[in-house]
Structure formats: structure tokens, C-alpha cells
Symmetry: C2
Subunit: 178 residues, 2 copies
């Protein structure tokens, strides 16, 4: 079942930075530095990744798709570049950056799209082949949700032992066992 | 490894209602009514559950543990009562209620605990047997996180088909297959 709707998608995209800000701003390092093991991201690194994706993924690809169609593949995109590129600033400063780049990108999105835009038009993904504009924008939204789930999951990990026998009722701690 | 710390726990407990408010307030029904299948909760029902747990679970049990120790089991608690009890109000009104009851309960928690409170003291869980005060408070925190993960997961479900081939990179959509 297809549910994509631009207004709804934007509704979620514009809420996410504020929601993460309320959750993470001023939070103690114990939570912010919690991770699920070596090589996994903590909450701050997830925010870095969200910022990086705003800069080099969503709008650049949407814009490329609208200009080039499926004639040329999207330029490559390094999903781990934030781990080397993001400067060591406070979480509050990073959250503010995320809010600003997201707000700017939603404005860009509205400029790029028009009432007669065909959301079934395609671009060429280097790995997947032809992908639809609607799929790219839907992925932007679900990417926010998946990384929000990751943030709360890595924080929950900090109390894995502390919850004692309740661990069996807390789905968020069950999943990483698999 | 044990990480429980009261100040940190409260830090997360007091942020959660505001974070959910930023995420869900004014959001369109498409997102709020999304669910993972029959008998599963949508985002609004999860908020109902969080409100109900504030009223009948955490503080009542903490208070009972402090008074009775492990001499008597906690009074029973119906984890599904919100499905029959919560009135049909707007999401904004429910989010406001959650913020109020949470704020009241954090004040109650601070009243109940003292600088010499022993967090290893135990109560009697009807199913698990002896449980520690620190385990109960830790569970309160992780319960917030698990239900936040649930909210974003059930919303992501709405775009399962819409993301097209990206589904394989979106962990939040992978998990429900198992």
C-alpha cells in the first residue's frame, strides 16, 4: 500500500530536529556517550550523521534527479563521512545546526517541487538502478525515524543491567540480542 | 555493568514528554493512526499507555516498595488498561496530560527519596520476586525509551512500501520481519 504524501512527509521532517533537541539538549554525557559496542554510533554521532545527510544526500540527490532524470547515476555519497568530518562541538550546537540545515532544506524542497511535479519520475541510484522521486523523499522521512529509534536504543543500552528482571518486558533491549 | 544514577535518570524522565510533544503535536492523522497490524498500538495509544503508567505504575510501586519493602507483593497492574480507560481526546491534550503527570511524578519521586535512600532496598514483584528500587527506577526510564522506539517504528511502517529499494538500508523496517 502506497501512502506517500508530500505535505505529511514535510510535517514529519520539520518536527524531527525539535523533537531531538528536546530529548538531547543538555543531557548528561552518560546518555550521550552510550553505545552498543565498538564501531557503533552514540547519540552525538547519529546527530552528526543526520547533519551530514542534510548536506550531501537528500537535497543534492533530489535536485540531481529532477535535472538529470535516470540518465546519469547519483554522485556517490559516503554514509560514514560524518565520522571524520564533523567538528567536535557541543551537542547543543550540533542540534542547532541540524535544525538550521533541515529548515533550509525544507525550503529548498518546496522551491524544487511544483504543483505539477510528477513524483513517479525516476533517477538512477548507483546500486539500486531506477528509483522514484517519491521513494527518495519517503526514505528521507524514514531515515529520520530509523535514526531516532537508534538514538533511544543506544541510550537504553546504558541501563541493560540496571533494569534487572524487567529486561524481558523491554522490547528495546531484546532486539540487540539477535 | 551498573550505570544507574538518580540525577541522570531524572534528566531523561523530564525530557521525554517535551520530546514526544515536539514530534507528535499537530501531526497529521496518517502518522498518528499508523499501526503495525491488528491488535498493535498506534502512536496515540502509546501515549495513552504512558499516561496510564504514570498514574498506576511507577510512583505507586516506588512508594509501596519504600513503605512495605519485600513483605507484600506490589498491587497488580493492568498493562492494557489504557485501551479501555483513556478518553477520546486530541493528541495535543493527551501530550499535555503526559507532561503534567510526569512533572508531578518527578516531584513526588524527589519527595520520596532522600540523600540516604538505599537504592538496593527491595520490593516484591508479583512475578519476578525481589526487585531493587534502582531496578524499578531504571525500568521507568527504559520504558520511556522502548515506547519512543515503538512510536517511531509504527510511524515508519506507514512508508514501508513507499521507500522502494531503500527498505534494505532502513533498520527500522527490517526488524518487524523477524
Amino acid at each position: 500500500m502506497m501512502n506517500f504524501n508530500l505535505i505529511e512527509a514535510i510535517g514529519l521532517l520539520e518536527r524531527m530536529p525539535k523533537s531531538l533537541e528536546q530529548l538531547l539538549s543538555g543531557l548528561s554525557d552518560g546518555w550521550l556517550e552510550s553505545r552498543e559496542g565498538e564501531g557503533t554510533w552514540n547519540a552525538v554521532e547519529v546527530v552528526d550523521h543526520l547533519i551530514e545527510a542534510e548536506r550531501s544526500n537528500w537535497i543534492p540527490r533530489i535536485s540531481f534527479l529532477l535535472q538529470e532524470g535516470a540518465s546519469k547515476p547519483f554522485p556517490p555519497f559516503d554514509r560514514f563521512s560524518h565520522l571524520k568530518n564533523e567538528p567536535d562541538r557541543s551537542i547543543d550546537s550540533k542540534l542547532q545546526t541540524f535544525r538550521q540545515v533541515r529548515s533550509y532544506n525544507i525550503d529548498r524542497l518546496k522551491e524544487l517541487l511544483h504543483t505539477d511535479t510528477n513524483f513517479n519520475q525516476t533517477g538512477l541510484h548507483p546500486e539500486f538502478g531506477e528509483v522514484k522521486l517519491s521513494e527518495l523523499i519517503s526514505t528521507w522521512v524514514v531515515h529520520d525515524l530509523t535514526h531516532t529509534a537508534q538514538i533511544v536504543r543506544v541510550m537504553a543500552e546504558r541501563y541493560r543491567s540496571d533494569v534487572g528482571p524487567w529486561v524481558q518486558y523491554l522490547g528495546i533491549l531484546k532486539r540487540t540480542e539477535t
